[in-house]
């Protein structure tokens, strides 16, 4: 048998039908559904008198536009948001899906709820009408975002029509320096390959620095594979993965656990597997980073200065000029002198317990700079409860942060949590696009620890100075 990558192995295990031209029906093990990209899909099913093929493999949770303030379980003020959340409620109940409404403590961002509840397991195929489905790749699951038509296709058939991507290996060798986190790894990779660098590929992240990461960190890395343009990001499952999965509500138990484990241990790329592209970064070369522009590839170490358009070539010259104008930044300004108004800690990229611990470690015994609006939005109700139990919530509120309920919140600002025009935000989320956090809002992407440091000083800050 020819050697295979992890992606090849998961792909092969899910081919339900292959046509002569290579067009494949790939079977989907888990389908996650949220309120924004699913209403039209359910409507399509109804119009065609179709059923959900596998309701048992379909998990629904509202997250994108739910408010993160108290009272949302009683009434959502924004009418359009309310209609979408109500539509999900109706669809989940009518089609018999697994469902976590806002009244359930397990509710949260779909990509945090899935792993937390043990829905996401190694070797699975996982899809959702959301590009950050890549997150689940941290378990060695083939996971990617789909559009609403494909949501409808999966609901109706539990399969997707797919053509295979190419294989790309991203290796992070050695150890990370203190103050450098999974977020810095994933941003550094995007900075190196560009936002289209992964187009047409599935990325497998490997190397010592990846192996050393917790599951939370690995989810952060895979989450942003999409910002590198890749179909999906993967990390081969190992003991760290198995320890995380074991005992979760929907993880296999007893004899099934043993059988699953036996298969999961085969889920790694063969030594002589073929890679269409290989990228290597040294862990020790990665610094705490921030973005300066309006593309996630606009990444620089916090010790650097704002670049000039002339530093680039091709279409990037005009893009950089436009970005700098939008961001209100002058070339040559040290990034550590850029003052901010808002700090957002949360999102499917960095809304897990480890992220909150990292931010709280910087905030302990400190206050945020006067005039800064800072909020923490835990990724799920369970993350929130755990953070309260560990005393993290007290650290955040004593420092001056708002302590919110779970949801996507200011990552995409579909709920009331938004930036005003010209406001500048240090955000642990994943996109710094124009208008992403509110029309005219300016976003700098960074790690939770870096976000906490910025909240304390009022400007982008090298977290290592506060450690």
């Amino acid at each position: 048998m020819s050697p295979k990558t992890l992606y090849d192995k998961i792909w092969d295990a899910h081919v339900a039908h292959e046509a002569d031209d290579g067009t494949t029906l790939l079977y989907i093990d888990r389908h996650l559904v949220h309120e924004v990209t699913s209403p039209q899909a359910f409507e399509g099913l109804r119009l065609a008198s179709r059923k959900v093929h596998a309701p048992d493999k379909t998990i629904a949770v509202p997250d994108h536009n739910v408010p993160t303030t108290e009272g949302r379980d009683v009434f959502i003020e924004n009418e359009e948001s309310r209609i979408q959340v109500e539509a999900l409620d109706t669809n989940a109940r009518e089609f018999g899906l697994h469902y976590y409404p806002v009244t359930d403590i397990r509710q949260g961002i779909v990509h945090i709820v899935g792993p937390e509840q043990g829905w996401t397991l190694p070797g699975m195929t996982v899809v959702c009408g959301d590009s950050h489905t890549a997150t689940h790749g941290a378990f060695g699951a083939l996971a990617h975002g789909i559009g609403t038509s494909e949501v409808e296709h999966v609901l109706a058939t539990q399969t997707l029509i797919q053509t295979k991507s190419k294989n790309m290996k991203v290796e992070i060798t050695g150890k990370l320096a203190p103050g450098v986190t999974a977020k810095d790894i994933t941003l550094a990779v995007i900075g190196k390959i560009g936002t289209a660098g992964g187009t047409g590929y599935v990325i497998e992240y490997c190397g010592e620095a990846i192996r050393d990461l917790s599951m939370e960190g690995r989810m952060t890395v895979c989450n942003m594979a999409i910002e590198g343009g890749a179909r999906a990001g993967l990390i081969a499952p190992d003991e760290t993965t198995f320890d995380y999965v074991k005992g979760r509500p929907h993880a296999p138990k007893g004899a099934q656990w043993e059988a699953a484990l036996t298969w999961w241990k085969t889920l790694k790329s063969d030594d002589d597997a073929h890679w269409d592209k290989v990228v290597t970064l040294k862990g020790e070369d990665i610094a705490p980073v921030v973005t300066w522009g309006t593309s996630p590839e606009d990444v620089l170490p916090i010790t650097a200065s704002v670049p000039a358009p002339e530093d680039f070539t091709g279409g990037k010259v005009d893009a950089a000029r436009r970005s700098l104008e939008y961001m209100g930044l002058k070339p040559g300004t040290p990034l550590s002198e850029v003052a901010i108004d808002t700090v957002f800690i949360g999102s499917c990229t960095n809304g897990r317990i480890e992220d909150l611990r990292a931010a709280a470690a910087i905030l302990k015994g400190r206050k945020i700079k006067e005039g800064i609006r800072a909020m923490v939005v835990p990724g799920s109700g369970l993350v929130r409860a755990q953070a309260e139990e560990e005393g993290l919530a007290d650290i955040f509120t004593e420092a001056g942060f708002e302590w919110r309920l779970a949801g996507c919140s200011m990552c995409l600002a579909m709920n009331p949590d938004q930036l005003a025009p010209g406001e500048r935000c240090a955000a642990t989320s994943n996109r710094n696009f124009e208008g992403r956090q509110g029309r005219g809002g300016r976003t700098h992407l960074l790690s939770p620890a870096m976000a906490a440091a910025a909240a304390v000083t009022g400007h982008l800050t090298d977290v290592r100075e506060l450690m």
């Binding site: 081919v15 339900a16 039908h17 031209d21 029906l25 079977y27 924004v36 990209t37 209403p39 039209q40 409507e43 065609a48 493999k57 994108h64 536009n65 924004n78 359009e80 948001s81 209609i83 979408q84 539509a87 397991l121 009408g129 959301d130 590009s131 489905t133 990617h144 975002g145 789909i146 559009g147 609403t148 038509s149 494909e150 296709h153 109706a156 058939t157 029509i161 936002t195 289209a196 187009t199 999409i226 343009g229 296999p252 099934q256 656990w257 699953a260 593309s295 091709g314 279409g315 990037k316 005009d318 893009a319 579909m414 025009p421 996109r431 696009f433 124009e434 208008g435 992403r436 029309r439």
Partner: protein, 201 residues
């Protein structure tokens, strides 16, 4: 789905790179539960000022491009979120074909589900089409899916690649769920096998 065979129409030039889905259709318009009506909000934040007035310099606000059916764009068009609202908005505006050096993966797939043809061409050819589109409404570009060619107003023709299955679905306007359901037996046999091999799934 609406068929796509051949179109001859005005092409709008938009040379920016990395046009993301937040630009194509900002999130405040994702709250709809319908697929239609988004054309008026296509490129909303570039197209209208804070008071909702049209920004005259924006390409689709210029008289010669208001009825554009083709968009010529920079590399990595459609990057960002999986929102199908992006192709819905493009289609609703009246654009049936987007030509760029490269596309983001999910956006590219979403186009085919909505009767829109995304065409990736080498940068030099996109540059030539961008120049042609810059001539305004008299420069009408022809896209022929059957022949897989794009032809400029001067008669210069470029061949393009497209997946055979996607081409077939677009030419015939096929509903791919119905096509997949024809393979129901394969899906059920896969499920029976996996129920034994990986019962925990």
């Amino acid at each position: 789905m609406e068929k796509f065979t051949t179109i001859t129409g005005v092409a709008a030039p938009m040379p920016m790179i990395n046009v993301d889905t937040d630009m194509i259709i900002p999130k405040q318009f994702l709250k709809t539960i319908k697929r239609t009506g988004l054309g008026v909000n296509l490129f909303d934040e570039m197209r209208y000022d804070d008071d909702g007035n049209e920004i005259p310099d924006f390409v689709l606000n210029k008289p010669q491009y208001r009825n554009a059916e083709i968009l010529i764009a920079g590399e990595n068009f459609g990057c960002g979120s999986s929102r199908e609202h992006a192709p819905w908005a493009i289609k609703d505006f009246g654009i049936r074909c987007v030509i760029a050096p490269s596309f983001a993966d999910i956006f590219y797939n979403n186009c085919f589900k909505n009767g829109i043809l995304p065409i990736a061409l080498p940068q030099e050819q996109v540059d030539a089409l961008m120049n042609d589109a810059g001539k305004g409404e008299n420069a009408r570009i022809t896209v022929d899916l059957e022949a897989q060619t794009v032809t400029t107003s001067d008669g210069e023709s470029f061949p393009f690649e497209v997946d055979a299955f996607k081409k077939h679905c677009l030419l015939e306007g096929l509903d791919d769920i119905a096509l997949t359901l024809e393979k129901q037996a394969s899906i059920q046999s896969y499920e029976s096998r996996i129920a034994v091999e990986r019962p925990w799934v």
